[in-house]
């Protein structure tokens, strides 16, 4: 297992896990050692269950950003049988924050697009930590068009702090490409499944987020703004990020309650970062199940339902229309 310190609220579990790993390394163990291992395993599981069944919103953000959390490339390795990367935005350059290509999953041939934060420092720097530029959105829009043309279902894996804020990004039309991508996805004539696997950061996430099904992993989050950004604006200090995180109501449970996501995918005990294989297996079974459902529907019906799904989102009061009364 990949042990990772770093989450302050997991400190005790981490100490237990380290102890456990030490014992498990020994080759000839005494019966007492075996007993201790059993006991520690039980304690770790109990502690994780207690923590993870009740993560607060700020803790959820920490888990969603965990450096060992599985990224798009991990899922490509573990949940898909093949990935043929397609670069080429045919316009400016190759954005490493958004990947796209053909992939096989179970009996399905699909087009996949996804944000990729990167594991190594080099990868992370190249992808701006998963913050895409306009060329990234142009690239994935061109792959969406291919998917439509050749009747490949589209799978979008969302994991970004947000679209990149920079001079080049503005010069090359960041606002324009995000708008255009939503516009096109809303009418794309092929099934579309979107899954928020980590961070669903605002417009940068929604730019590949318009689908027939929108799912979110249990400890992922999906928000109009980062908690730090919201705290900076409304509380005038980034230190209020935990407060902002709670106010924004962006955990999987909230998203489900607000009618924004269709499905929540359960994570392994202690979060996806503790067991990539199990998480990938869960994602794979969700995707194949959903692809089977969606392929059974006539495409016109699917696109109409996609429209209605987003059409319904929002909450407001509809007052009875009365003769004009001064207020």
């Amino acid at each position: 297992m990949d042990l990772a310190p770093g989450l302050e609220f997991e400190r005790e579990v981490f100490l237990l896990e380290t102890q456990l790993a030490e014992l498990e390394k020994q080759t000839d163990r005494t019966p007492e050692a075996e007993e201790t291992i059993r006991r520690l395993r039980g304690e770790v599981n109990d502690a994780l269950r207690a923590l993870y069944s009740n993560l607060d919103p700020w803790q959820t953000v920490q888990v969603a950003r965990h450096k060992n959390r599985p990224y798009t490339r991990d899922y490509l390795n573990l949940a898909f049988d093949e990935f043929v990367e397609l670069h080429g935005d045919k316009h400016f350059g190759d954005d490493r924050a958004l990947l796209s290509g053909f992939a096989k999953i179970d009996r399905f041939k699909v087009m996949i697009v996804g944000h990729h934060k990167g594991r190594t420092y080099k990868e992370r720097a190249a992808s701006h930590f998963g913050c895409a530029h306009p060329e990234g959105y142009r690239k994935v829009m061109s792959k969406m068009r291919l998917a439509e043309k050749y009747k490949l279902p589209l799978i979008c894996l969302i994991d970004t702090p947000g679209a990149y804020p920079g001079i080049g990004a503005e010069e090359r039309g960041q606002a324009q490409v995000i708008a255009e991508s939503m516009f096109k996805m809303s009418r794309l004539q092929t099934p579309v499944i979107c899954v928020v696997i980590g961070e669903g950061g605002s417009g940068g996430a929604l730019g590949i987020g318009v689908g027939d099904r929108v799912a979110v992993l249990e400890h992922a989050y999906y928000s109009v703004i980062s908690p730090e950004g919201c705290a900076g604006i409304l509380w005038k200090s980034h230190q209020y990020a935990p407060k902002a995180a709670a106010a924004l109501r962006f955990t999987s449970r909230d998203l489900r309650g607000l009618g924004v996501v269709d499905d929540v995918l359960p994570e392994p005990l202690g979060g996806a970062h503790r067991d990539h294989r199990q998480m990938a297996a869960c994602l794979k079974s969700y995707l194949t199940r959903t692809l089977t459902q969606l392929e059974a529907k006539p495409i016109d019906e699917l696109v109409d339902e996609r429209y209605e799904k987003f059409r319904r989102i929002g909450q407001f009061i509809e007052e009875p229309v009365a003769p004009a009364a001064a207020s």
Binding site: A175, I225, F316
Partner: protein
């Protein structure tokens, strides 16, 4: 002499967003406070200092010229109501969906409750939310018309703005009517309604995609400021995109960008002129000509 800054330009210089769709309502937060000046067009006082050229100009003269500085053509803020009067033929506007009222789905509270903020914004601006929608005539052509008011929580889009625009677009689709949306929003997607605001971007964009498929003509007019989630959705999706001169338009707020990259931003960055130069705007149109330019475009498109 009153030296109040143009509200919209002071708003734009205060943008402090972390990410695009919420290059957000820093001023929205302030707007709620009782001490903030009344945001109605040109600042109070007989003489005002123009933020464009620093000259002292006679307020009546500015107002007579549709809130444009007579010396430098600086375009001051105009309210949604004034905009309707400027662009639509007199007495032709019929509002739609006024009975939709914002609510507080997240029970959001920062230093102030959102429910209270809504009430104080409504009292201060006389609007129920940041967008007015309806139908009216432009030089005797009937159009579907919407305008956002950058004074109402920074012109940000929450559920009511999203719903009003979507209903208007669906109506325009059914009636085969040209659609004009004049945007002014420093706030982008409204934080106080969280993810529901973000999703309005998708909802309105999807409605525009259907409208487009049905052959509808959409003219998007960008005014100072048009940022974040508004820029990254309907405002950028016009068949024709016009912008008033020197408006601040972009995805991420200038402060966010500066904080991210750590260097000074180039002169004129994220202005209408900058966007024109980079290919994202069809025409820069002065306020004086806006009505006739829209009418002419409708004629060319045979609508």
């Amino acid at each position: 002499m009153a030296t109040v800054d143009n509200p919209s330009s002071s708003a734009s210089s205060n943008l402090d967003a972390v990410n695009g769709s919420s290059s957000a309502a820093e001023n929205g937060a302030e707007n709620g406070s009782a001490t903030s000046p009344k945001k109605r067009g040109v600042p109070e006082g007989l003489w005002i200092k123009c933020p464009g050229c620093s000259a002292s100009v006679y307020r009546k003269e500015v107002e007579r010229r549709a809130n444009v500085c007579p010396k430098c053509e600086h375009h001051f803020y105009v309210s949604a109501r004034e905009r309707i009067a400027q662009v639509l033929d007199e007495g032709t506007f019929e509002p739609m969906d006024e009975h939709l009222r914002p609510t507080d789905p997240l029970e959001f509270a920062d230093r102030k409750r959102y429910s209270e903020r809504l009430l104080s914004e409504q009292r201060r601006t006389g609007l129920t939310d940041a967008a007015i929608t309806g139908t009216g005539m432009i030089r005797a052509r009937r159009v579907a018309f919407a305008v956002t008011d950058s004074a109402f929580i920074m012109g940000s889009m929450g559920s009511v703005v999203g719903e009003r625009l979507t209903r208007l677009i669906e109506w325009a689709t059914r009636e085969n009517m040209p659609l004009i949306i004049i945007s002014g929003s420093g706030g982008g997607a409204r934080m106080h309604e969280g993810i529901l605001s973000l999703m309005q971007m998708a909802k309105v964009s999807a409605a525009l995609a259907r409208y487009d498929q049905a052959g509808g003509l959409f003219i998007s007019v960008l005014t100072n400021p048009t940022m974040g989630g508004v820029a990254a959705s309907f405002a950028s999706l016009g068949d024709l995109v016009f912008a008033e001169p020197k408006a601040l338009i972009g995805f991420a707020g200038p402060r966010t960008i500066k904080a991210t990259i750590g260097i000074e931003l180039p002169e004129g960055f994220q202005t209408s002129e900058f966007l024109l130069e980079h290919g994202y705007i069809d025409r820069i149109v002065t306020r004086k000509n806006l009505k006739s330019e829209i009418a002419r475009a409708i004629d060319y498109c045979g609508k």
